[in-house]
Protein backbone atom coordinates (compact mmCIF):
# COMPACT_ATOMS: atom_id res chain seq x y z
CA UNK A 1 0.00 0.00 0.00
CA UNK A 2 1.48 3.37 -1.01
CA UNK A 3 -0.85 5.68 0.89
CA UNK A 4 -2.97 4.85 3.86
CA UNK A 5 -5.10 7.37 5.74
CA UNK A 6 -6.75 6.06 8.90
CA UNK A 7 -9.45 8.13 10.56
CA UNK A 8 -7.62 11.29 9.59
CA UNK A 9 -8.92 14.67 10.81
CA UNK A 10 -7.74 18.20 10.45
CA UNK A 11 -9.13 20.94 12.63
CA UNK A 12 -8.23 24.60 12.33
CA UNK A 13 -8.56 26.75 15.43
CA UNK A 14 -8.97 30.28 14.16
CA UNK A 15 -9.47 32.21 17.35
CA UNK A 16 -12.87 31.30 18.68
CA UNK A 17 -13.95 29.43 15.54
CA UNK A 18 -13.19 25.75 15.06
CA UNK A 19 -13.18 24.63 11.47
CA UNK A 20 -13.24 20.90 10.86
CA UNK A 21 -11.65 20.73 7.43
CA UNK A 22 -11.32 16.94 7.38
CA UNK A 23 -13.43 14.57 9.46
CA UNK A 24 -12.28 11.01 9.85
CA UNK A 25 -10.98 10.27 6.38
CA UNK A 26 -10.15 6.63 5.59
CA UNK A 27 -8.42 6.13 2.31
CA UNK A 28 -5.97 3.78 0.63
CA UNK A 29 -4.16 4.38 -2.62
CA UNK A 30 -2.07 1.73 -4.37
CA UNK A 31 1.09 2.25 -6.36
CA UNK A 32 0.42 3.25 -10.00
CA UNK A 33 -3.13 4.37 -9.35
CA UNK A 34 -4.46 7.46 -11.14
CA UNK A 35 -6.80 9.16 -8.68
CA UNK A 36 -8.83 12.36 -9.01
CA UNK A 37 -10.02 14.17 -5.91
CA UNK A 38 -13.09 16.30 -6.52
CA UNK A 39 -15.40 18.43 -4.49
CA UNK A 40 -16.86 21.91 -4.26
CA UNK A 41 -14.85 24.66 -2.62
CA UNK A 42 -14.81 24.28 1.15
CA UNK A 43 -15.15 20.52 0.84
CA UNK A 44 -11.66 19.98 2.27
CA UNK A 45 -9.90 18.95 -0.91
CA UNK A 46 -7.14 21.55 -0.54
CA UNK A 47 -6.53 20.45 3.04
CA UNK A 48 -6.44 16.82 1.99
CA UNK A 49 -4.02 17.69 -0.78
CA UNK A 50 -1.76 19.59 1.68
CA UNK A 51 -1.77 16.64 4.06
CA UNK A 52 -1.12 14.15 1.27
CA UNK A 53 1.70 16.41 0.05
CA UNK A 54 3.21 16.55 3.55
CA UNK A 55 2.90 20.33 3.61
CA UNK A 56 0.62 19.97 6.62
CA UNK A 57 0.18 17.43 9.38
CA UNK A 58 -3.16 16.02 10.50
CA UNK A 59 -4.70 16.94 13.86
CA UNK A 60 -5.50 13.31 14.55
CA UNK A 61 -5.39 10.00 12.74
CA UNK A 62 -2.65 8.22 10.82
CA UNK A 63 -0.98 8.97 7.54
CA UNK A 64 1.33 6.26 6.23
CA UNK A 65 3.19 7.13 3.04
CA UNK A 66 5.37 4.39 1.61
CA UNK A 67 5.65 2.94 5.14
CA UNK A 68 6.68 6.32 6.60
CA UNK A 69 4.53 7.49 9.49
CA UNK A 70 4.12 11.04 8.22
CA UNK A 71 1.63 12.11 10.87
CA UNK A 72 4.39 12.22 13.49
CA UNK A 73 7.21 13.91 11.60
CA UNK A 74 8.88 17.22 12.34
CA UNK A 75 9.49 20.00 9.81
CA UNK A 76 12.84 18.80 8.55
CA UNK A 77 11.66 15.20 8.14
CA UNK A 78 8.60 16.45 6.26
CA UNK A 79 10.86 18.51 4.00
CA UNK A 80 12.88 15.40 3.24
CA UNK A 81 9.72 13.37 2.50
CA UNK A 82 8.43 16.10 0.20
CA UNK A 83 11.75 16.09 -1.56
CA UNK A 84 11.98 12.33 -2.06
CA UNK A 85 8.42 11.08 -2.26
CA UNK A 86 6.32 13.85 -3.73
CA UNK A 87 6.32 15.82 -6.96
CA UNK A 88 4.07 18.85 -6.94
CA UNK A 89 2.36 20.35 -9.98
CA UNK A 90 0.47 23.56 -9.20
CA UNK A 91 -2.27 25.46 -10.98
CA UNK A 92 -0.06 28.56 -11.12
CA UNK A 93 3.06 26.59 -12.15
CA UNK A 94 5.11 28.09 -9.29
CA UNK A 95 8.41 28.28 -11.11
CA UNK A 96 11.22 30.52 -9.90
CA UNK A 97 10.99 33.54 -12.21
CA UNK A 98 14.69 34.36 -12.29
CA UNK A 99 15.88 30.80 -12.90
CA UNK A 100 15.84 29.16 -16.34
CA UNK A 101 13.94 25.94 -17.06
CA UNK A 102 16.94 23.75 -16.37
CA UNK A 103 17.67 25.39 -13.01
CA UNK A 104 14.02 25.14 -12.00
CA UNK A 105 14.06 21.42 -12.71
CA UNK A 106 17.37 21.00 -10.85
CA UNK A 107 15.94 22.56 -7.70
CA UNK A 108 14.66 19.40 -5.93
CA UNK A 109 18.02 17.74 -6.63
CA UNK A 110 19.85 20.66 -5.03
CA UNK A 111 18.00 20.06 -1.79
CA UNK A 112 18.97 16.41 -1.62
CA UNK A 113 22.59 17.13 -2.33
CA UNK A 114 22.94 15.58 -5.79
CA UNK A 115 26.33 16.55 -7.25
CA UNK A 116 26.28 19.16 -10.02
CA UNK A 117 27.10 16.94 -13.01
CA UNK A 118 24.54 14.29 -12.18
CA UNK A 119 21.99 16.97 -11.33
CA UNK A 120 22.30 18.60 -14.73
CA UNK A 121 22.02 15.23 -16.45
CA UNK A 122 18.86 14.20 -14.56
CA UNK A 123 17.25 17.61 -15.12
CA UNK A 124 17.93 17.38 -18.87
CA UNK A 125 16.42 13.92 -19.04
CA UNK A 126 13.30 15.11 -17.21
CA UNK A 127 12.92 18.04 -19.60
CA UNK A 128 13.33 15.70 -22.57
CA UNK A 129 10.53 13.56 -21.17
CA UNK A 130 8.11 16.49 -21.35
CA UNK A 131 9.43 17.56 -24.75
CA UNK A 132 11.23 20.74 -23.73
CA UNK A 133 14.82 19.83 -24.56
CA UNK A 134 15.08 22.90 -26.83
CA UNK A 135 13.79 25.33 -24.15
CA UNK A 136 16.14 24.44 -21.31
CA UNK A 137 17.80 27.83 -21.08
CA UNK A 138 14.63 29.89 -21.29
CA UNK A 139 13.27 31.67 -18.26
CA UNK A 140 9.60 31.15 -17.31
CA UNK A 141 8.53 34.49 -18.78
CA UNK A 142 9.95 33.39 -22.13
CA UNK A 143 7.75 30.28 -22.16
CA UNK A 144 4.05 29.78 -22.90
CA UNK A 145 1.67 28.62 -20.18
CA UNK A 146 1.71 25.06 -21.43
CA UNK A 147 5.49 25.05 -21.60
CA UNK A 148 5.70 26.41 -18.05
CA UNK A 149 3.44 23.65 -16.81
CA UNK A 150 5.62 21.11 -18.59
CA UNK A 151 8.69 22.54 -16.82
CA UNK A 152 6.78 22.16 -13.55
CA UNK A 153 5.98 18.54 -14.42
CA UNK A 154 9.63 17.89 -15.24
CA UNK A 155 10.54 19.37 -11.86
CA UNK A 156 7.98 17.09 -10.18
CA UNK A 157 9.42 14.07 -11.96
CA UNK A 158 13.09 14.66 -11.60
CA UNK A 159 13.49 13.05 -8.17
CA UNK A 160 11.47 9.97 -9.22
CA UNK A 161 8.90 10.51 -6.44
CA UNK A 162 6.32 7.99 -5.24
CA UNK A 163 3.42 10.34 -5.98
CA UNK A 164 2.84 13.12 -8.45
CA UNK A 165 0.40 15.49 -6.82
CA UNK A 166 -1.28 17.85 -9.24
CA UNK A 167 -3.51 20.67 -8.00
CA UNK A 168 -5.76 21.95 -10.80
CA UNK A 169 -2.90 21.56 -13.28
CA UNK A 170 -4.97 22.78 -16.23
CA UNK A 171 -6.79 25.56 -14.38
CA UNK A 172 -4.72 28.32 -15.94
CA UNK A 173 -4.53 26.84 -19.43
CA UNK A 174 -6.79 26.91 -22.47
CA UNK A 175 -8.52 23.63 -23.19
CA UNK A 176 -6.21 22.60 -26.03
CA UNK A 177 -3.06 23.10 -23.94
CA UNK A 178 -4.86 21.52 -21.00
CA UNK A 179 -5.46 18.41 -23.09
CA UNK A 180 -1.78 18.29 -23.98
CA UNK A 181 -0.88 18.42 -20.29
CA UNK A 182 -3.40 15.67 -19.52
CA UNK A 183 -1.76 13.55 -22.20
CA UNK A 184 1.54 13.92 -20.41
CA UNK A 185 -0.06 12.74 -17.16
CA UNK A 186 -1.56 9.81 -18.99
CA UNK A 187 1.84 8.86 -20.39
CA UNK A 188 3.43 9.19 -16.95
CA UNK A 189 0.74 6.95 -15.52
CA UNK A 190 1.42 4.35 -18.18
CA UNK A 191 5.11 4.47 -17.26
CA UNK A 192 4.17 3.37 -13.76
CA UNK A 193 3.82 6.64 -11.83
CA UNK A 194 1.19 7.21 -9.18
CA UNK A 195 -0.83 10.34 -9.90
CA UNK A 196 -3.20 12.21 -7.63
CA UNK A 197 -5.13 14.97 -9.33
CA UNK A 198 -7.16 17.61 -7.56
CA UNK A 199 -9.73 19.24 -9.81
CA UNK A 200 -13.27 20.48 -9.99
CA UNK A 201 -13.61 19.88 -13.72
CA UNK A 202 -15.53 16.71 -14.45
CA UNK A 203 -13.92 16.20 -17.87
CA UNK A 204 -10.43 16.48 -16.34
CA UNK A 205 -11.31 14.02 -13.60
CA UNK A 206 -12.50 11.58 -16.23
CA UNK A 207 -8.88 11.04 -17.28
CA UNK A 208 -8.34 9.18 -14.02
CA UNK A 209 -9.16 5.62 -12.98
CA UNK A 210 -10.77 6.53 -9.70
CA UNK A 211 -12.67 9.57 -8.49
CA UNK A 212 -12.90 10.46 -4.81
CA UNK A 213 -15.60 13.05 -4.08
CA UNK A 214 -15.41 15.08 -0.91
CA UNK A 215 -18.13 17.04 0.79
CA UNK A 216 -17.89 18.86 4.13
CA UNK A 217 -14.62 17.19 5.02
CA UNK A 218 -15.77 13.64 4.45
CA UNK A 219 -15.57 11.25 1.53
CA UNK A 220 -18.94 11.32 -0.15
CA UNK A 221 -18.21 8.85 -2.91
CA UNK A 222 -15.20 6.78 -4.00
CA UNK A 223 -15.70 5.18 -7.39
CA UNK A 224 -13.44 3.39 -9.80
CA UNK A 225 -13.90 4.24 -13.46
CA UNK A 226 -14.04 1.61 -16.10
CA UNK A 227 -12.30 2.59 -19.25
Amino acid sequence: MLIQLVNLSKVYDIGAVRVEALRGINLSIERNEYVAIMGPSGSGKSTLMNVLGCLDTPTSGEYLLNNNRVSEMDDDQLAEIRNREIGFVFQTFNLLPRANALHNVELPLIYNGTPTQQRRQLAKEALEKVGLEDRMHHKPNELSGGQRQRVAIARALVNKPSIILADEPTGNLDSKTGDEIMEIFEALHEQGNTIILVTHEEYIAEHSDRIIRLRDGSIERDESMSR
Binding site: L55, D76, A79, F88, N94, R98, G113
Partner: protein, 411 residues
Protein backbone atom coordinates in the same frame (compact mmCIF):
# COMPACT_ATOMS: atom_id res chain seq x y z
CA UNK B 1 31.08 17.73 -2.88
CA UNK B 2 29.61 17.97 0.64
CA UNK B 3 25.90 18.75 0.79
CA UNK B 4 26.46 22.06 2.46
CA UNK B 5 28.59 23.29 -0.43
CA UNK B 6 25.80 22.37 -2.85
CA UNK B 7 23.34 24.50 -0.89
CA UNK B 8 25.89 27.28 -0.50
CA UNK B 9 26.57 27.31 -4.24
CA UNK B 10 22.82 27.54 -4.85
CA UNK B 11 22.61 30.34 -2.27
CA UNK B 12 25.38 32.31 -3.97
CA UNK B 13 23.81 31.79 -7.39
CA UNK B 14 20.35 32.89 -6.23
CA UNK B 15 21.77 35.85 -4.31
CA UNK B 16 23.77 36.90 -7.35
CA UNK B 17 20.67 36.74 -9.53
CA UNK B 18 18.67 38.70 -6.96
CA UNK B 19 21.38 41.37 -6.69
CA UNK B 20 21.55 41.62 -10.45
CA UNK B 21 17.80 41.90 -10.79
CA UNK B 22 17.77 44.87 -8.41
CA UNK B 23 21.08 46.54 -9.21
CA UNK B 24 20.24 50.06 -8.05
CA UNK B 25 18.55 48.85 -4.89
CA UNK B 26 21.50 46.64 -4.00
CA UNK B 27 24.02 49.43 -4.50
CA UNK B 28 21.96 51.91 -2.48
CA UNK B 29 21.66 49.32 0.26
CA UNK B 30 25.41 48.96 0.48
CA UNK B 31 25.92 52.72 0.82
CA UNK B 32 26.16 52.73 4.62
CA UNK B 33 28.67 49.90 4.56
CA UNK B 34 30.60 51.64 1.79
CA UNK B 35 30.86 54.87 3.77
CA UNK B 36 31.89 53.03 6.93
CA UNK B 37 34.53 50.96 5.23
CA UNK B 38 35.87 53.88 3.23
CA UNK B 39 36.15 56.09 6.32
CA UNK B 40 37.83 53.53 8.49
CA UNK B 41 40.31 52.34 5.89
CA UNK B 42 41.14 55.88 4.75
CA UNK B 43 41.72 57.16 8.28
CA UNK B 44 43.70 54.11 9.30
CA UNK B 45 45.87 54.37 6.22
CA UNK B 46 46.38 58.08 6.88
CA UNK B 47 47.42 57.35 10.46
CA UNK B 48 49.84 54.71 9.31
CA UNK B 49 51.27 57.04 6.70
CA UNK B 50 51.61 59.76 9.33
CA UNK B 51 53.30 57.33 11.69
CA UNK B 52 55.95 56.59 9.12
CA UNK B 53 56.44 60.24 8.26
CA UNK B 54 56.56 61.31 11.89
CA UNK B 55 59.06 58.65 12.87
CA UNK B 56 61.37 59.80 10.11
CA UNK B 57 60.84 63.47 11.09
CA UNK B 58 62.02 62.99 14.64
CA UNK B 59 64.78 60.55 13.75
CA UNK B 60 67.32 63.39 13.96
CA UNK B 61 66.58 63.47 17.68
CA UNK B 62 68.33 60.35 18.89
CA UNK B 63 66.32 57.94 20.99
CA UNK B 64 69.32 57.72 23.29
CA UNK B 65 69.85 61.46 23.84
CA UNK B 66 68.49 63.51 26.74
CA UNK B 67 68.13 67.27 26.62
CA UNK B 68 68.46 69.20 29.92
CA UNK B 69 67.01 72.70 29.77
CA UNK B 70 64.93 75.35 31.49
CA UNK B 71 61.83 74.57 29.48
CA UNK B 72 60.08 71.29 28.91
CA UNK B 73 59.25 70.64 25.25
CA UNK B 74 55.63 69.88 25.99
CA UNK B 75 53.63 71.97 28.41
CA UNK B 76 50.20 73.37 29.00
CA UNK B 77 49.79 77.13 28.49
CA UNK B 78 49.14 77.78 32.20
CA UNK B 79 52.48 76.42 33.28
CA UNK B 80 54.39 79.10 31.42
CA UNK B 81 54.85 81.43 34.39
CA UNK B 82 56.15 78.63 36.58
CA UNK B 83 58.86 77.72 34.07
CA UNK B 84 59.80 81.32 33.29
CA UNK B 85 61.10 81.92 36.79
CA UNK B 86 63.42 78.94 36.75
CA UNK B 87 67.17 79.62 36.72
CA UNK B 88 68.95 79.25 33.39
CA UNK B 89 71.05 76.18 32.84
CA UNK B 90 74.74 77.11 32.90
CA UNK B 91 77.94 75.87 31.33
CA UNK B 92 79.21 75.15 34.82
CA UNK B 93 76.28 72.78 35.34
CA UNK B 94 77.10 71.11 32.03
CA UNK B 95 80.65 70.55 33.23
CA UNK B 96 79.39 69.12 36.54
CA UNK B 97 77.10 66.73 34.71
CA UNK B 98 79.92 65.72 32.43
CA UNK B 99 82.24 64.84 35.28
CA UNK B 100 79.63 63.21 37.53
CA UNK B 101 77.55 61.10 35.16
CA UNK B 102 78.43 57.43 34.78
CA UNK B 103 75.81 56.74 32.14
CA UNK B 104 76.67 59.61 29.80
CA UNK B 105 78.75 58.86 26.76
CA UNK B 106 78.94 62.51 25.76
CA UNK B 107 77.73 65.77 27.34
CA UNK B 108 77.55 68.94 25.26
CA UNK B 109 76.33 72.38 26.37
CA UNK B 110 74.55 74.04 23.44
CA UNK B 111 73.76 77.72 22.79
CA UNK B 112 71.86 78.85 19.72
CA UNK B 113 71.09 81.91 17.68
CA UNK B 114 70.11 82.78 14.11
CA UNK B 115 72.43 84.95 12.01
CA UNK B 116 73.47 85.86 8.50
CA UNK B 117 76.61 84.21 7.16
CA UNK B 118 78.56 86.03 4.45
CA UNK B 119 81.29 84.94 2.12
CA UNK B 120 82.71 87.22 -0.60
CA UNK B 121 79.56 89.21 -1.29
CA UNK B 122 77.26 86.19 -1.04
CA UNK B 123 75.17 85.80 2.05
CA UNK B 124 72.78 83.28 3.58
CA UNK B 125 70.09 84.37 6.02
CA UNK B 126 68.66 82.68 9.05
CA UNK B 127 71.47 80.27 9.65
CA UNK B 128 71.24 78.36 12.90
CA UNK B 129 74.46 79.23 14.70
CA UNK B 130 75.39 76.75 17.42
CA UNK B 131 77.99 77.20 20.10
CA UNK B 132 79.04 73.92 21.68
CA UNK B 133 81.88 71.50 22.40
CA UNK B 134 83.47 68.53 20.65
CA UNK B 135 80.88 66.24 22.33
CA UNK B 136 78.19 67.64 20.04
CA UNK B 137 79.58 65.28 17.40
CA UNK B 138 78.01 62.41 19.37
CA UNK B 139 74.99 64.07 20.98
CA UNK B 140 73.68 65.55 17.73
CA UNK B 141 75.05 63.01 15.26
CA UNK B 142 76.94 65.85 13.58
CA UNK B 143 79.24 63.76 11.44
CA UNK B 144 81.53 65.75 9.12
CA UNK B 145 81.56 64.67 5.50
CA UNK B 146 84.61 66.74 4.68
CA UNK B 147 87.25 68.22 6.94
CA UNK B 148 86.83 67.63 10.67
CA UNK B 149 84.56 68.43 13.60
CA UNK B 150 85.52 70.60 16.62
CA UNK B 151 88.33 69.12 18.70
CA UNK B 152 89.02 69.82 22.41
CA UNK B 153 91.76 72.35 21.62
CA UNK B 154 89.33 74.37 19.42
CA UNK B 155 87.02 74.60 22.40
CA UNK B 156 89.67 75.21 25.06
CA UNK B 157 91.32 78.00 23.09
CA UNK B 158 88.05 79.51 21.78
CA UNK B 159 89.34 79.31 18.23
CA UNK B 160 87.41 81.22 15.56
CA UNK B 161 86.49 78.13 13.54
CA UNK B 162 83.17 76.79 12.21
CA UNK B 163 81.79 73.51 10.97
CA UNK B 164 79.06 74.28 8.42
CA UNK B 165 75.98 72.41 7.26
CA UNK B 166 75.86 70.99 3.75
CA UNK B 167 73.37 73.57 2.54
CA UNK B 168 75.53 76.46 3.77
CA UNK B 169 78.43 74.97 1.84
CA UNK B 170 76.32 74.61 -1.33
CA UNK B 171 74.80 78.10 -1.17
CA UNK B 172 77.91 80.11 -0.27
CA UNK B 173 80.64 78.26 -2.08
CA UNK B 174 79.15 76.61 -5.15
CA UNK B 175 82.23 75.17 -6.89
CA UNK B 176 84.93 76.31 -4.45
CA UNK B 177 86.20 74.06 -1.67
CA UNK B 178 84.99 75.72 1.56
CA UNK B 179 87.60 74.12 3.84
CA UNK B 180 90.06 76.75 5.06
CA UNK B 181 88.00 79.68 3.71
CA UNK B 182 86.93 82.48 6.03
CA UNK B 183 83.25 83.28 6.42
CA UNK B 184 81.92 86.22 8.39
CA UNK B 185 79.29 85.93 11.11
CA UNK B 186 78.17 89.07 13.00
CA UNK B 187 81.21 90.94 11.66
CA UNK B 188 83.77 88.33 12.83
CA UNK B 189 85.75 86.03 10.61
CA UNK B 190 85.59 82.27 11.16
CA UNK B 191 87.65 79.65 9.36
CA UNK B 192 85.66 76.72 7.93
CA UNK B 193 87.12 73.46 9.22
CA UNK B 194 84.45 70.94 8.23
CA UNK B 195 81.22 70.30 6.34
CA UNK B 196 78.50 68.12 7.84
CA UNK B 197 76.67 65.31 6.11
CA UNK B 198 73.22 66.15 4.81
CA UNK B 199 70.70 65.78 7.66
CA UNK B 200 67.38 66.68 6.05
CA UNK B 201 64.55 68.43 7.84
CA UNK B 202 62.65 68.20 11.09
CA UNK B 203 59.14 69.72 11.27
CA UNK B 204 59.98 71.83 8.22
CA UNK B 205 63.24 73.17 9.72
CA UNK B 206 66.16 72.66 7.37
CA UNK B 207 68.81 71.06 9.56
CA UNK B 208 71.52 71.71 6.99
CA UNK B 209 71.48 75.52 7.27
CA UNK B 210 73.77 75.42 10.26
CA UNK B 211 77.12 76.66 11.55
CA UNK B 212 78.78 75.13 14.63
CA UNK B 213 81.50 76.95 16.59
CA UNK B 214 83.28 76.53 19.98
CA UNK B 215 81.05 77.66 22.79
CA UNK B 216 83.61 80.20 24.10
CA UNK B 217 83.86 81.81 20.67
CA UNK B 218 80.05 81.92 20.56
CA UNK B 219 79.88 83.70 23.91
CA UNK B 220 82.52 86.23 22.98
CA UNK B 221 80.59 87.15 19.81
CA UNK B 222 76.99 87.01 21.03
CA UNK B 223 77.41 87.60 24.79
CA UNK B 224 77.53 85.13 27.64
CA UNK B 225 74.58 86.07 29.81
CA UNK B 226 70.82 85.77 29.36
CA UNK B 227 71.24 83.16 26.67
CA UNK B 228 69.49 79.88 26.92
CA UNK B 229 71.74 76.87 27.31
CA UNK B 230 70.74 73.29 26.71
CA UNK B 231 72.80 70.34 27.86
CA UNK B 232 72.69 67.43 25.45
CA UNK B 233 73.53 64.08 26.98
CA UNK B 234 74.11 60.96 24.93
CA UNK B 235 73.55 57.83 26.98
CA UNK B 236 76.03 54.95 26.72
CA UNK B 237 73.33 52.47 25.85
CA UNK B 238 69.87 53.19 24.43
CA UNK B 239 68.38 50.73 26.92
CA UNK B 240 69.63 52.87 29.81
CA UNK B 241 67.80 56.10 28.94
CA UNK B 242 65.49 55.89 31.94
CA UNK B 243 68.30 55.16 34.38
CA UNK B 244 70.28 58.02 32.86
CA UNK B 245 67.32 60.37 33.29
CA UNK B 246 67.18 59.37 36.94
CA UNK B 247 70.91 59.86 37.39
CA UNK B 248 70.90 63.26 35.65
CA UNK B 249 68.00 64.44 37.80
CA UNK B 250 70.02 63.52 40.88
CA UNK B 251 73.15 65.32 39.63
CA UNK B 252 71.24 68.48 38.69
CA UNK B 253 69.42 68.61 42.02
CA UNK B 254 72.70 68.17 43.87
CA UNK B 255 74.48 70.84 41.80
CA UNK B 256 71.61 73.25 42.34
CA UNK B 257 71.35 72.32 46.02
CA UNK B 258 67.62 71.62 45.87
CA UNK B 259 66.12 70.40 49.16
CA UNK B 260 63.98 67.27 48.98
CA UNK B 261 60.71 69.16 49.37
CA UNK B 262 61.30 71.31 46.27
CA UNK B 263 60.43 70.06 42.85
CA UNK B 264 62.82 70.07 39.92
CA UNK B 265 63.55 73.51 38.51
CA UNK B 266 64.85 72.14 35.20
CA UNK B 267 63.48 69.87 32.52
CA UNK B 268 64.91 66.71 31.06
CA UNK B 269 63.52 66.30 27.57
CA UNK B 270 63.67 63.35 25.23
CA UNK B 271 62.43 62.18 21.87
CA UNK B 272 59.68 60.03 23.33
CA UNK B 273 57.89 63.20 24.49
CA UNK B 274 57.17 63.96 20.84
CA UNK B 275 56.00 60.42 20.35
CA UNK B 276 53.70 60.69 23.36
CA UNK B 277 52.20 63.92 22.09
CA UNK B 278 51.87 62.47 18.64
CA UNK B 279 50.16 59.36 19.95
CA UNK B 280 47.77 61.57 21.90
CA UNK B 281 46.88 63.38 18.69
CA UNK B 282 46.40 60.25 16.64
CA UNK B 283 44.26 58.75 19.37
CA UNK B 284 41.67 61.35 18.43
CA UNK B 285 41.92 60.26 14.81
CA UNK B 286 41.48 56.65 15.84
CA UNK B 287 38.42 57.57 17.87
CA UNK B 288 36.96 59.42 14.87
CA UNK B 289 37.65 56.46 12.63
CA UNK B 290 36.06 54.03 15.04
CA UNK B 291 33.11 56.34 15.75
CA UNK B 292 32.27 57.15 12.15
CA UNK B 293 32.93 53.58 11.13
CA UNK B 294 30.73 52.12 13.84
CA UNK B 295 27.84 54.51 13.19
CA UNK B 296 27.83 54.05 9.45
CA UNK B 297 28.21 50.30 9.76
CA UNK B 298 25.28 50.24 12.17
CA UNK B 299 23.18 52.34 9.81
CA UNK B 300 24.37 50.24 6.90
CA UNK B 301 23.54 47.08 8.78
CA UNK B 302 20.02 48.29 9.54
CA UNK B 303 19.66 49.21 5.87
CA UNK B 304 20.61 45.68 4.95
CA UNK B 305 18.17 44.23 7.46
CA UNK B 306 15.44 46.42 6.02
CA UNK B 307 16.11 45.42 2.44
CA UNK B 308 16.38 41.76 3.39
CA UNK B 309 12.97 41.97 5.08
CA UNK B 310 11.59 43.48 1.88
CA UNK B 311 13.28 40.76 -0.10
CA UNK B 312 11.84 38.02 2.10
CA UNK B 313 8.34 39.45 1.69
CA UNK B 314 8.73 39.81 -2.06
CA UNK B 315 9.96 36.29 -2.35
CA UNK B 316 7.47 34.66 -0.01
CA UNK B 317 6.19 32.58 -2.88
CA UNK B 318 9.68 31.53 -3.91
CA UNK B 319 10.27 30.39 -0.33
CA UNK B 320 7.00 28.44 -0.46
CA UNK B 321 8.06 26.75 -3.70
CA UNK B 322 11.46 25.84 -2.31
CA UNK B 323 9.91 24.42 0.84
CA UNK B 324 7.34 22.45 -1.16
CA UNK B 325 10.05 20.71 -3.11
CA UNK B 326 12.12 19.85 -0.08
CA UNK B 327 14.13 22.80 1.25
CA UNK B 328 14.57 22.57 5.01
CA UNK B 329 14.50 25.54 7.37
CA UNK B 330 18.28 25.71 7.53
CA UNK B 331 18.52 25.71 3.72
CA UNK B 332 16.30 28.78 3.52
CA UNK B 333 18.11 30.41 6.43
CA UNK B 334 21.46 29.99 4.71
CA UNK B 335 20.14 31.20 1.41
CA UNK B 336 19.16 34.56 2.89
CA UNK B 337 22.23 34.80 5.12
CA UNK B 338 24.45 34.30 2.11
CA UNK B 339 22.53 37.01 0.31
CA UNK B 340 22.98 39.55 3.11
CA UNK B 341 26.65 38.62 3.43
CA UNK B 342 27.04 39.17 -0.29
CA UNK B 343 25.44 42.62 -0.09
CA UNK B 344 27.88 43.43 2.72
CA UNK B 345 30.74 41.98 0.75
CA UNK B 346 29.79 44.15 -2.21
CA UNK B 347 29.82 47.16 0.12
CA UNK B 348 33.27 46.23 1.40
CA UNK B 349 34.66 45.80 -2.10
CA UNK B 350 33.30 49.18 -3.22
CA UNK B 351 34.48 50.75 0.06
CA UNK B 352 37.99 49.37 -0.29
CA UNK B 353 38.13 50.55 -3.88
CA UNK B 354 37.09 54.06 -2.84
CA UNK B 355 39.53 54.06 0.09
CA UNK B 356 42.43 53.05 -2.15
CA UNK B 357 41.47 55.80 -4.57
CA UNK B 358 41.16 58.35 -1.75
CA UNK B 359 44.49 57.35 -0.22
CA UNK B 360 46.17 57.77 -3.61
CA UNK B 361 44.46 61.13 -4.10
CA UNK B 362 45.52 62.36 -0.65
CA UNK B 363 49.07 61.17 -1.19
CA UNK B 364 49.20 62.86 -4.59
CA UNK B 365 47.66 66.21 -3.68
CA UNK B 366 48.81 66.84 -0.09
CA UNK B 367 52.04 66.27 1.82
CA UNK B 368 50.13 63.77 3.96
CA UNK B 369 51.30 60.28 3.15
CA UNK B 370 48.78 57.43 3.13
CA UNK B 371 49.51 53.74 3.15
CA UNK B 372 46.87 51.01 2.72
CA UNK B 373 47.88 47.87 4.53
CA UNK B 374 46.50 44.46 3.81
CA UNK B 375 45.51 43.59 7.36
CA UNK B 376 43.09 46.52 7.48
CA UNK B 377 41.44 45.23 4.34
CA UNK B 378 41.06 41.71 5.69
CA UNK B 379 39.88 42.94 9.06
CA UNK B 380 37.25 45.06 7.33
CA UNK B 381 36.11 42.11 5.26
CA UNK B 382 35.75 39.78 8.22
CA UNK B 383 34.05 42.43 10.32
CA UNK B 384 31.51 43.31 7.69
CA UNK B 385 30.67 39.72 6.84
CA UNK B 386 29.95 39.49 10.55
CA UNK B 387 27.59 42.45 10.18
CA UNK B 388 25.95 40.69 7.26
CA UNK B 389 25.25 37.71 9.49
CA UNK B 390 24.17 39.82 12.47
CA UNK B 391 21.66 41.94 10.57
CA UNK B 392 20.74 39.17 8.14
CA UNK B 393 19.83 36.58 10.74
CA UNK B 394 16.46 38.08 11.65
CA UNK B 395 15.09 38.37 8.09
CA UNK B 396 16.58 34.99 7.21
CA UNK B 397 14.99 33.24 10.17
CA UNK B 398 11.72 34.95 9.33
CA UNK B 399 11.99 33.43 5.87
CA UNK B 400 12.95 30.03 7.24
CA UNK B 401 9.94 29.96 9.58
CA UNK B 402 7.36 30.71 6.86
CA UNK B 403 4.59 28.17 6.59
CA UNK B 404 4.88 26.60 3.13
CA UNK B 405 1.13 26.48 2.52
CA UNK B 406 0.64 30.15 3.30
CA UNK B 407 3.80 31.08 1.42
CA UNK B 408 2.56 29.26 -1.68
CA UNK B 409 -0.77 31.05 -1.49
CA UNK B 410 0.91 34.46 -1.12
CA UNK B 411 0.15 36.87 -3.95
Amino acid sequence: MPRFLIYAAEGVKIAYEALRAYKLRSILTTLGIVIGVTTVITIVSLIQGLNRAFTSEISSLGTDTLYIGKWPWMMDGDDWLKFRNRPNVTIKEANEVRSASQLAQAVAPVMRTQRIIKYQGKSLERVAVVGTTEDYLLTANATPEEGRFLIPSDVDQNRAVVVIGSEVADKLFEKEDPIGKRVSIAGRKFRVIGILEKRGTMFDNNLDILAIMPIGAFQSVFGATRRRIEIQVKVVNPAMVEEAEYELTGIMRRVRGLPAIKENNFAINKQSMFLDMYNKLTRVLWAVAIGVGAISLLVGGIGIMNIMLVSVTERTREIGIRKAIGARKTDILWQFLIESMMICGLGVVIGIGLAVGLAKLVAATTPLPAAITLWVVFLGLAFVVGIGVFFGIYPASKAAKLNPIEALRYE
